[in-house]
Symmetry: C2
Subunit: 112 residues, 2 copies
Amino acid sequence: MGKESTKGPLMPGTLEMLVLKTLTRGPLHGYGIAQYIRQVSDDVLRVEEGSLYPALQRLQIKGWVTSEWDVTGNNRRARYYRLTPLGRKQLAAESAAYNRITEAIARVMNPA
Amino acid sequence: MGKESTKGPLMPGTLEMLVLKTLTRGPLHGYGIAQYIRQVSDDVLRVEEGSLYPALQRLQIKGWVTSEWDVTGNNRRARYYRLTPLGRKQLAAESAAYNRITEAIARVMNPA
DNA sequence: ACCTTATACATAGTTTATCTATGGAAAGAT
DNA sequence: ATCTTTCCATAGATAAACTATGTATAAGGT
């Protein structure tokens, strides 16, 4: 009866990068971040709230993002997260590291 | 003074896939598996022994590999791991899942 | 003979990130 | 009234990788 669960676990270590990337489009609240990532990834990447909110706290502590309470278009209170300049640098670094590693994995998986 | 450490952490969840893939070339011992992955990845992926040996035990328990003691070309005793047919199927499944996820990540990181 | 390096296996304990499972609260629709 | 959706948040469990450590032997240099 239920629908088939597409099942979409995240690769540990990629969540922070995806969140930072999402915030380059502008400030957004947690729920919106989760929805955006899920939609853009065609429902493959599912960001669980139990993973997201702790991650957002970590990002804030490290200074990659700031946050403030605001109101959504739905007239709901929500905490909006905003990328800091430091966060932007971090995103570039993480993105480069990610590419380096996935390319290395590709060399193992598809040897010449 | 030491050499620059290239630093190459693995993405959690990829180690088993890389090991299974390595064993498609033929039976090999743990130390050799680590060396192979490191070399083919151009020193980007470093397989720590503290990660590898527990992983090999997990693979064996699940039936993806078997093992037996043998002697290397260096005249040393070593435990050789061999991919099972089940392991080969598992590799195909993990590889497909990995591609699905990395492609989804790419959609988030490089939106059209 | 001795010492060092490289090879080879293995475990214990820590860290860290994600997940599951909950819980609360308010808006809007039926 | 009640239900669904939106939105936040935490506690506890799970799992994979890491660091550190220990053992042992072969080969090669001095």
